[in-house]
Each structure stands twice: as C-alpha cells, then as structure tokens.
C-alpha cells in the first residue's frame, strides 16, 4: 500500500491551454493517505474520471506529478504502478472458469498453488459465489460477471492501491449492500488505499473515510460524510450531497441576523461575510413546519416510505422539508422554521466560517 501524492496536478486535453476553462482538471495538490478509503464524487463531466485515469496511469497529466510513496510515477504505465482496477462494466475471461478468473492475477505473480487456492476461496465466499466457482464465466449474468471482476480486483494484497470506477452500476440494489459491506470489511482488515469513483452519493458516503467532491474540474471539498452534510464548503456540495439537496435562501446577513424576504432569522452565531451575494443554506432535515416563522405553502408531498418530502413555496423560493413517516403534514398554508445549528452562510457560493469559530460537528443534529 502506498501514499499517493498529487503535486501541482492539472490536465488539459488541449495542446496549448490558455484559460482555466481549457482545463478538464484544475490544479490540485493532495495527499491520499496510505490505507484510507476515498470516494471521488461528482456529476458527469466534473473531471473525476480524468483524475482517476491519471492516478492509474491511463492518462499522462499535462501538468504536475503523481508520486507513490514519494517516487515519481507520472510517466509509468498502469502495469508498472502495481495497482488493481475494477471498472463499471465487467472484464471477465469468458473461456476460463470463475476460479481461474479469480486466480489469474495471482498466477501471474507466481504465487504457490496452495496460497492461490486459499485466497480464491476466501474471495469466492466474499462475493458469495463459492458454489459456482468451477463454472465457466460465459453465459453468466452481467452482475455475476461484475462480482467476479470485483473479486479479481481484491484478490491481491500487495498492490499499491485499489481503484474502482463506478463498480456497482450493473449490480442490483440488494446486492449493492452486500458488496459494499464486504468492500468495507476488506478495507478494515487489509487497510488498502482505495479510491472509488462514483456519481452516487450513497455509495460515496457509505464507502469512504473521506469524500472528494468535484465540480467543474475542481475539487470543491474533501471531507468526512459528516462534514459534507453539516458544513458544505460550497453550495454545490450542499446541492449534490443529500436527497433532496440543501435549500438556499437569498439573505441579507448582518452579524447574528439574516433577513429573508420580510423575515428575520437568528443565526445563533455571528458572521461577517464579504461583499458578494449572500445566501443561507438549510438542509431539508433541518426545516420544521409550524405556526410561526417564514410563511410558506405546501405544494406537494412525496411519500418515500421511511419519511415524507414536503415541497413548499416560501415567497417564490422552492423549499423541501423532510418530516417523519407518520408525521402530519399541514394542508396549504404553514410556516417554516430552521433548526438551530442547521444553518450555513454562503458568500458567492462559498461557505463563511462563523466569527466565533466552528462549533463541534453535529450541533444541528442534536438540536434537531
């Protein structure tokens, strides 16, 4: 396992990039800590696959360097980087049995047969395919093949890093739970450095110790799931993490008070934002419906089983609130209130740190 360092890394697909827009990946300096599990999360076209391809060696960056444990690998091929990769669609040798498929990377490295056997059995159990290991891969369903690809990616324990590119896309929801748990368990046991690319927030948040959120070729925040949820550094993170995403209100922020429409909200902390446009962000989980607060009208209620999403119109601003499974929802007119500690302040889309410094994480949740 290795620490992976990105030094002044940037990439443009153009020969002579002139402006920041010419870069698919904006300049990035980052250490991927040895043994941590990271997720690279962002919408299509945000640059996450470009970044993964640079780390894996499929793409040579136009600017900067990639180091594995301090050694420059920028120009090394994928094969020479000693990494394992799992892709979105299964890569399986159809003429081999599943056992042979799983054993392939180990045989290539000349491991003893008994060792190979033990590991293949173990991985076979992990992906729940022990009873079919001696069948040929041809004719299997796509998700069975993908499980073999995943298993093959994890069968070696001497790799520098394990890279996953949307590996669960073709897997059924129920099996996703199973495989994700297994991946996590494996990570606990072996402490591989793992980088997992996905556009699915649930996958990213549940898999990773740290999530790297990308937007428009830039890394906008690197944080624990907790940090991304409670303190989105950019309004994009607020929108992209959470379902539905964070609500945003245009607001005049002065000290401890935010003016929204005609209403005044106590922010609980003092803020001194710069001269840019200010907004406040409140997650649907931190919006309460009640008798007082900002007037709003219920426009739609979505029952998603374990809770309800209430869509509201508050003076022209669309707002989403989450209420409990059995909670009553007012018909038509109501008011919205923000849970204390559940409010973030933004200036020009970037989060403003309160004057008194950060409160401990989870203050909003406790209050809610």
């Amino acid at each position: 396992m290795a620490k992976i360092t990105l030094q002044g890394l940037a990439h443009s697909y153009l020969e002579t990039p002139t402006s920041p827009e010419d870069f698919a990946l904006q300049e990035l300096n980052h250490d991927w800590t040895d043994g941590e599990a990271y997720a690279l999360l962002g919408p299509s076209g945000c640059g996450k696959s470009t970044l993964l391809n640079i780390i894996s060696g499929l793409l040579i960056p136009s600017h900067g360097r990639v180091l594995f444990d301090g050694k420059d690998v920028t120009h090394l091929s994928t094969a020479d980087r000693n990494i394992a990769q799992v892709f979105q669609f299964p890569v399986v040798y159809d003429t081999m049995t599943m056992r042979e498929n799983l054993a392939f990377p180990l045989k290539n490295r000349g491991l003893a047969a008994s060792e190979i056997n033990a590991r293949v059995e173990r991985i076979g159990r992990m992906i729940d395919m022990t009873d079919v290991l001696d069948r040929r891969a041809a004719g299997l369903t796509a998700d069975a093949k993908q499980k073999i690809s995943l298993g093959r990616g994890m069968v070696r324990d001497d790799v520098n890093a394990l890279l996953f590119d949307e590996p669960l896309t073709v897997i059924d929801p129920h099996m996703k739970w199973e495989l994700r748990t297994q991946l996590k368990k494996l990570h606990h046991e072996f402490g591989h450095t793992m980088i997992y690319v996905t556009h699915d927030q649930t996958e990213a948040l549940t898999f990773a110790d740290k999530v790297v959120v990308m937007y428009d070729g830039r890394v906008v925040q690197i944080g624990t799931p907790d940090e991304l949820f409670e303190r989105p550094a950019h309004t994009f993170v607020g929108y992209f993490i959470g379902s539905p995403g964070m609500n945003l209100f245009d607001a005049e922020v002065q000290g401890r008070t935010a003016g929204i429409g005609g209403a005044e909200i106590d922010l609980g902390e003092g803020y001194r934002p710069g001269p840019g446009a200010t907004k406040i962000g409140v997650r649907p989980e931190y919006i309460r419906l009640g008798q007082t607060g900002i007037p709003a009208r219920v426009t739609r209620v979505e029952d998603v089983g374990r809770h309800k999403i209430v869509r509201l119109d508050a003076g022209g601003t669309q707002v989403a609130a989450i209420v409990g499974e059995g909670a009553p929802v007012p018909d038509g007119g109501t008011h919205i209130v923000f849970a204390p500690g559940g409010v973030n302040v933004y200036e020009n889309e970037w989060r403003v740190v309160p004057e008194g410094g950060e409160a401990p994480l989870g203050a909003g949740r406790e209050a809610a």
Partner: protein
C-alpha cells in the same frame, strides 16, 4: 382506454419467463414494475407492447383483443435504459421523427414537437445534436419522442438508470407531472424501491417472473401480502427473524422470549417469520420494545444517518439509525424494535398480521 392482461404467460425454451398473470392498467395512471434484475420486468413490458407473443392468455386494449397485433399498428411508445436518439438529427428532428412516420401535416408536427420539447425543458437545445447534450438532456429527448406520439401506452424500461444521481432525482420529480397531464397509461420498470415510491401511482412487485402484488404504491409498501413482496420493496433489505409461538410466549430465534401479547392479535401456536424495516431498528430502547443482541459487522455513515450491518444468530440484518454513530466493528450491539413495526409472516411466507403502524398510516 385500459390495458388488460388475461392469464398471460411466457415460456421460452421450457423456461418460464412470466408466470400466469392477470393485470388491468387504467388510463391516466402510473404503473411501476418493481423487481430485481431478471425478475421479468422487461419480459412483461415486451408482452404489453406486443413485441413478444404470450404463450397463453390474451391482451386487451380497451376491451379489444390485440394479442398478436404488430407493435407498429398499436399506439405504444417505449423508452429504454440506453438512450436511443438519432445522432445525426437535431433534437427537433428526433422528436418529430415518429410524427413524420405518421405522415401528419407540417404545422401539426411543429406544434406537437415544440410542446413536447417545452415539457421536457429542451426548448433552448432544440437545434442541437444529441451528442452536444448532457446525459440527462439526451434521455429527456428520448422521453419527448415517446410522449409526442400521444401513444395510449408509454413503456419506460429503467429510463433513468444510466443517469447521474442528481439528474435522476430531478427527472423522477418531473415524470409524474408529465404523466398527470397526458392521460396515457404509463408503465415504468425499476429495481429501486425508493424510485417506485417517488413515482407513486400503482405498483406491481415482481419476483422470478411472478407478479406478487399489485395495488397503490404506498399501500404495497406498507401492506405487502407476503415476505417476498416485502423483500422486493425494501432497500436496504427487510430484516427477518424466525419466531415460535407456544402458549402465551413468543421465542425469537434461539434467544429472547417475550409475552405473545406484545405482538397483539391471537396467533395460533406455530412458527412464524417476523419482518421489519431497517429504519425501524433503534439503538435506544424504550418501554415495550423488543431487544436483540447482535454483533456489529460494519457501519456506514451517510452524513445524517448511519447504517449498521449486524449479525443476528447468523442472519444478516441492516439498521438505519438517525445521526452519526462511530461504532467499533466486531463488537456486540444491542438493538431495539417496537412491536408496532413488526410484520408477521406465516411459514409459507404469506402475511399473517400487518405491522400495526402501517394500519394506522
């Protein structure tokens, strides 16, 4: 104009793809087919569309037998998981293509194309080629083409599966609004319970080629007729534990004994299966809660909630609890469940007693 499947089945080379099915879909309704991969969703849609012939049974379109009618002769539109657009045509021409096949006059085509484009929020992109669009816009273009025909039956086969999570969220909210206006029968296949709930309408759950239940979506979710339906309609999966009732006592698995009165009703002595949803499991006990000793396998934190993966006497459970819990794996963990969230299934899997909370909802 309703669509009725009467005793319809499909057998291919000795393998039953669809077991005998009776189903009536009403005009102006959203009908979700919910089930895992290979459960028969696409097979059923192909039968509805007339792309495949049923082995037994009949398909009626507003009481007229259309079994065996060519799909081209029926008012059917289908959208697949892989967006299919003509790459060399503009968005406008893509949407117009089915109308041109119908040889409608030019002004009528123009009106309907612009209306569909507006509905799909594609007006600003109307002169672009599909490859110049984002994935979401490409799929909206395919959806617009399906809608423009005013087909009485619109079949959507996992249409959002290849899109970004956030785009899916947006289109999911749009699709019910579109169908509300159109009056067509919509059939929408998905593997995701949450998507089914968000789409609302009616839901047919599928398992191994069988429709296990059909009814209003929230009521199928809250009142599954059997353990299979409950399993299909739960993500994360529903948790199960065997119970044995003897006289006044209930024994859960190998462990806890509680008075049978805790689950209410008057059950006959015998073996049952208790099912409950992950979000109803709690780390805090309360009055009257059932208690289980489990081993924590792993936790997953989503930022606002925590998934706990548990081992209960060799059986896998998942719990979804509020807040962020940093818990050490491979440790014993005591969890709690309120009896009002318990479904009781018989040995055959049939629902014996619905969860009291669902009755109240």
């Amino acid at each position: 104009m309703s669509l009725t499947l009467e005793n319809v089945s499909k057998v291919v080379g000795g393998a039953t793809h669809i077991h005998k099915t009776d189903l009536t879909l009403n005009p102006g309704t959203m009908n979700v087919l919910l089930g895992p991969t290979s459960s028969g969703k696409t097979s059923l849609m192909r039968l509805m569309a007339g792309l495949d012939q049923p082995t037994t049974g009949r398909i009626l379109w507003k009481d007229e037998d259309v079994t065996g009618q060519r799909v081209q002769d029926r008012k059917v539109a289908m959208v697949y998981q892989q967006f299919i657009n003509y790459p060399s045509m503009s968005v406008y021409d893509n949407i117009a293509s089915p109308l041109r096949l119908l040889k409608l006059d030019k002004s009528e085509i123009d009106r309907r194309v612009r209306e569909a484009a507006e509905l799909m929020q594609l007006t600003p992109q109307i002169d672009r080629k599909p490859l110049e669009l984002s994935g979401g816009q490409q799929q909206r273009c395919a959806l617009a083409r399906a809608l423009v025909k005013n087909a009485g039956l619109v079949l959507l086969d996992e249409p959002l599966a290849n899109l970004d999570y956030k785009l899916r969220e947006e289109l999911r909210a749009e699709i019910p609004k579109i169908f509300e206006r159109s009056g067509s029968i919509f059939v929408y296949a998905t593997t995701e319970p949450e998507e089914a709930l968000l789409l609302g309408g009616h839901c047919a759950t599928l398992w191994e080629g069988r429709v296990t239940q059909f009814g209003p979506t929230p009521s199928v979710y809250r009142r599954p007729v059997d353990a299979t339906t409950a399993r299909v309609f739960s993500d994360p999966p529903m948790n199960f534990v065997d119970v044995e009732k003897r006289g006044a006592m209930l024994r859960f698995g190998k462990g806890a004994e509680v008075p049978a009165a805790a689950l209410g009703g008057d059950l006959a002595d015998g073996t049952y299966k208790v099912g409950f949803r992950p979000n109803h499991l709690s780390l805090e006990g309360g009055e009257d809660t059932l208690t289980f000793d489990t081993t924590l396998i792993v936790t997953e934190i989503t930022g606002s909630e925590t998934f706990v993966h548990l081992d209960h006497e060799g059986q896998r459970w998942v719990g979804l609890v509020h807040g962020v819990r940093h818990l050490e794996p491979d440790q014993p963990l005591r969890v709690h469940l309120h009896p009002r969230h318990v479904y009781l299934f018989g040995e055959s899997g049939r629902l014996v007693q619905p969860a009291p909370y669902a009755e109240a909802a």
